[in-house]
Symmetry: C4
Subunit: 284 residues, 4 copies
């Protein structure tokens, strides 16, 4: 359930502190709101860096104490922020169950969890998702519009892409099995089992090509070549899908904003002079 | 020859069991038909996993007996299903020679074959193709429509793509030979023969890049660089082909052939009722 | 200078053998002409395979004598064919200097050259280009039309692609130098010199990624990551160029074939009713 | 601040030498100007090659003296050229702070700097940017127009591409952390820390695939496969963005805003003189 601050009614007029905090935290149309957002983004970025550095063993051994202190400082600040958010917001459940509400919670829980459960701390990397708030700060509306066009194009091609991916997987399974039959018997072969061969097939057909498993027999190399070349031609498909959808999406944003004064239809072509729905002439 | 259940006339009204079975097995418009399809898909997926696990040597050694029992259970169930399909269907030859009819047969034969011929069992991986029936279960019509658009776009660009692939192969043969002449003499060179060099060329030009064969001389690296960069520009071609065809295909589904009887304008949207140019009503 | 058999006037009527041979060799509209083309294509394919096998050392040692005999047989047949072509054709110079004329000559010369100059034999791989004649045999006109659309799209985007490739090379040179400064000092580093680093840059930015040279320092990995991600976004450019041109090219082939009876203009849109050049009404 | 020679007023008429030099150096519309440009481009290319060769240790040891002399010769020539440019140009500050003005300065400074600071010499590779002047010499206007279309398409998709890259980075961070948790404990694992795993994620999702870090556990390979396949579908996005923008850009250069005064049709080709819908003549 999305939580949109604009939908949220202004908090009670009597609690003016709460109202002001809400405006600062959830919107960025005031000077204080902007400052809050920027400070928050810097803190989040810093905390993500700390989580990453904690995993580097040399760094952890040398600066373990510092990282520990930083980690707890960030967690305490973010916990306070989360509680304040919960307090100032009106539709509490809606915020708590929204995408950012859940991400906010998941960003602080792991540190507390680690008191009981070692190793759970890395889940904090989920904090990186909080950085997506950035788009709200930097020219929000414009960039979110861009994201919408992208998302719409991806959603519109969802059906085609899932058909494509499933067909691809079927082909990779069959070709992987063939490669296992051809290459499996070789000494030191990387094709030790069908799942391994399917993994190789995915690495090959997506043109990643690690090279940790490669064919060594002549027949294997020939089959791999055929797979790469045909795979190569097939792989143009998802690009074609997204491009065609994106093109259609971009075209749609160019359609006219003129509204027919008779039937109210919107979405006329720029060249149109008469409403295609009811036939009356359109305004210039 | 495709077998389309909708074309098949309803079986004899006297054999009501056969008719009911036919409806359950081949269509998924009833509750029982849906349940049958879902159970079947789960069984197929499970049997594919079993075939894959059988190839993992540690797993086969530990759970060989279990896999053996599972494999035979699946085969017996699928054999029964195939026989029932053959019984209930009216145009038997048509079903047996259709794509899914052949796949259904090939999915059970290998287990019996393996009684006489060791190693033939892995052909069972072909069962994965039976999963393509999935699209019939999950919002069939819609997804198959998507697949049709994709297939049409690929078929329409078949000519261009084969011209492209053949030209690519010619270039790769010539460049592979050049690389063999340049790199072949090096000690420990991977370019041991022209076919090997052509294999390298395909790995390189499709941007897979395993790294099992790489140039070591300066001249070889320069030729490889030229090949990657020009190849890179050429490789945009199949994507361009599929995208342009897909775009045309998508446009065609929006096209309208109606001509305005007043101004003669063609190219109205399917939803339009009046000519957008002169305002008179369009023919149905 | 292209040699087009259709432009070539029929040879002298008195030398009917020459005329018949010309028709058989250069056209494929008769039964004999078709048979000749197919036999020739098989011979060419076989001779390409022989050249490739000759480079496989085990094969050469075992079947060296056989390959030698085959190679000379093919060369003698192709030499005879070349001489006959020269004889039957009318515009001899035009054929000899055309693309296929030069390829035909280069396909036989190397065998003779090798009598004096060891190692020159592999140039025979150029025979693979003779296979391009294939498109004339299999539905010639249609496939060549496809090739023309591709070629036109590539030629139309030539300017944009060369600007793109040159800018890419400049970026790769600068980033390669940076990588050399960062990684060059490491022991066992692959970045032994700037040209080597530029080679790495090309391998990386074209997403080939052999892995024979990879960054090992933290700074190097960060720069490489930035390079891959931005490079990734930039690399969409050639695809975009070719797609847009191809789309335009395909659109152009849909333009009307109607010729204005007044000014003779061709290339009206299907919806057009009046000539856009002189205003008279177009035929249906 | 761009410096455009065409905007620059002709220098004082009394200093005719300065005026003539300005025309030779900044324009290429005279025979001398063309010759100057070509000689300069050759010198720049040669000096870039010298900088590159200097980094090859064997070459530097053998021909160190020659390279030293060449390097200083080029620097002195380029210094003279820079001073002359500064002298003949009228808007000196504008030239000095323009893109090419800064590149010209950075191309000569490093040699002098190296007298005091060893290792700074490789910054001279920036000279490669001076080669971009090439486009002015070879059919300048046309190629720059091509570059403009490309640049406009890239700029127009800037917003969408940055949204895309940032989302990609978030996904890679989270998937990298997951891979670290799965693979990190393995002996000899390449996933030694989260930053390392994120580096692997970028190498994988851009389909570069070096193979210096690869998953070894079954779970790791499964996650990597999911990442490659979904990543593969997502990666079609930047191509789609650039293609759609480029297509729009190319269309825009063909657009015509003229409206027929009779039927109101908009969207005539620039060459059209009469409305294709009703046959009346179009306004200029």
């Amino acid at each position: 359930m999305p939580y949109d601050p604009v939908d949220d009614p202004t908090p009670d007029p009597d609690s003016s502190l709460r109202e002001r905090l809400w405006r600062i935290i959830f919107l960025s149309d005031t000077r204080a709101g902007r400052a809050f957002d920027i400070v928050l983004l810097i803190l989040i970025a810093a905390s993500v860096v700390v989580v990453m550095l904690e995993s580097v063993s040399e760094f952890r051994e040398q600066h373990g104490r510092l990282l520990f202190v930083l980690e707890w400082s960030f967690t305490i600040v973010f916990t306070a922020e989360y509680l304040v958010r919960l307090w100032v917001v009106r539709r509490r459940l809606r915020y708590a169950t929204s995408f950012f509400g859940i991400v906010d919670l998941l960003s602080i829980l792991p540190t507390y969890l680690e008191l009981f459960l070692t190793g759970s701390g890395y889940i904090m990397i989920i904090r990186v998702l909080r950085l997506l708030r950035m788009f709200r700060v930097l020219k929000m509306a414009h960039h979110l519009g861009q994201a919408n066009v992208l998302l719409n194009a991806l959603l519109a091609s969802r059906g085609k892409i899932s058909v494509f991916l499933f067909s691809l997987l079927s082909i990779v399974c069959i070709e992987g099995t063939l490669m296992y039959l051809i290459e499996g018997g070789q000494p030191d072969s990387g094709f030790t089992s069908i799942p391994q061969a399917v993994y190789w097939g995915i690495v090959t057909i997506t043109t990643v090509g690690y090279g940790d498993v490669t064919p060594v027999t002549v027949a294997g190399k020939m089959l791999a070549s055929v797979m790469m070349l045909t795979g190569f031609a097939i792989l143009a498909v998802p690009t074609g899908i997204v491009t065609a959808e994106l093109h259609r999406e971009l075209e749609a944003t160019r359609l006219d904003r003129r509204r027919c004064r008779e039937c109210g239809h919107v979405g006329h072509e720029p060249a149109a002079r008469y409403c295609k729905m009811c036939g009356v002439d359109l305004p210039e």
